[in-house]
Subunit: 255 residues, 2 copies
Amino acid sequence: MSHKPLGKVYLVGAGPGAPDLLTLRAARILASAEVVFHDALVHPDTLALAQRAEHVAVGKRCGRHSSAQAFINKRLVDAARKYAVVVRLKGGDPMLFGRAQEEIDALNGAGIEFEVVPGVTTALAAAAQIGTSLTRRGVSRNVTFVTPRVGKSEQPSDWARAVVAADTAVIYMGAGEAAEIRATLGARGVPMSTPVLLVENVSLPGSREIGCTLGEIEWAATQLGSGPCVIMLGEAMRDASIASYPQKQACWGTP
Amino acid sequence: MSHKPLGKVYLVGAGPGAPDLLTLRAARILASAEVVFHDALVHPDTLALAQRAEHVAVGKRCGRHSSAQAFINKRLVDAARKYAVVVRLKGGDPMLFGRAQEEIDALNGAGIEFEVVPGVTTALAAAAQIGTSLTRRGVSRNVTFVTPRVGKSEQPSDWARAVVAADTAVIYMGAGEAAEIRATLGARGVPMSTPVLLVENVSLPGSREIGCTLGEIEWAATQLGSGPCVIMLGEAMRDASIASYPQKQACWGTP
């Protein structure tokens, strides 16, 4: 019985959205891919770089089920038995809220070679877009990235503890949890006047920025559409938040 | 008296080191640059993409003086009065420990247009290199990026508070502060058995990974060379830390 040599799986970060925020390495690997399993939100122009490949959309936009993840894992393993170059293309960076570890564990378990290609994560592209650094001398010397979303089988996350301890916080996948964010951080003593900036569809045409305070975050979330959004929070965001306040009121903070 | 139109300054992330971890956008802007002010550690192949440009090395490798930063700010402003396309090329991402805000403020103050091009930050490239996600279901749901280095004019940073509150922490520019990291985190109750991974020269040939525990971090730092290093800390690092332990001892944690 002969065994075909196994292919290699590349877990590739597609970056925050704009096709030209892909890395050169990712572009090269996509060009040689035979099959690409991609997140729903990957830009069509990025997928188009995989000219030779079959394109397979996998994963729900937010909060996939475990069963869906197990199915993706299986498809990656099966594909590596059939193709030499398999790409799993994920929005942002694979190693930050990308659930890459579950796919890596499955590939390791099946003895399949893999390589991770890092990408520009959305928080950094959002900071670039608003022209405001996440760290700033004398204001912010550390940054935390959290998500208030947890799987159904998990304990409630202690995401708020990390936010409270950090100078600047970026909340991924949090726009739908604005009420919980305000209540949980408020209960831990974060002032309602803390500057907040929400950025929807980071790096894409039609991206929107809304500045507000923590106390106004639910209202601000209702002003956004259904695109993915990051919430940036902390003193380093003050000027950018004021500049993006919808009415640019002098009374920012007391609407 | 005629005024020449002012040029535009691009603050560009060069990524973690490997030239092909640059973004497509950064490569395109470098190709059109007339002058590039670059950090000392930017790869020669990345600089070579700026074929038309004058190349100017600026900045000390670690912890520039304020005066040096003010001088860089002035050179950027002066260059934008002379050239149409000015690039400030920074290692990693400009908005995370890149001191970009001081340059942005100087450009804003002089009325000069600027644009920030995000890059792959070193922590994410390190996670890709070791094949270990910074977030992991049921183990780590948030990540904090800190540096224990602070300017001479600043208060001691509360970086340790952010590390203690996070599931996974990545310490930038910390290899020279290993003794302080161990002592400060230990004093805050972080167990000496906490898994740690140091990665030197992330994404470059000859990159080295050393796994250890928090209690062994000073010893581990002495095993590294003089290249830039990130220190990754937390339960999500356990397997990668054990795999990179120099002697791969069964008795990891009790050398």
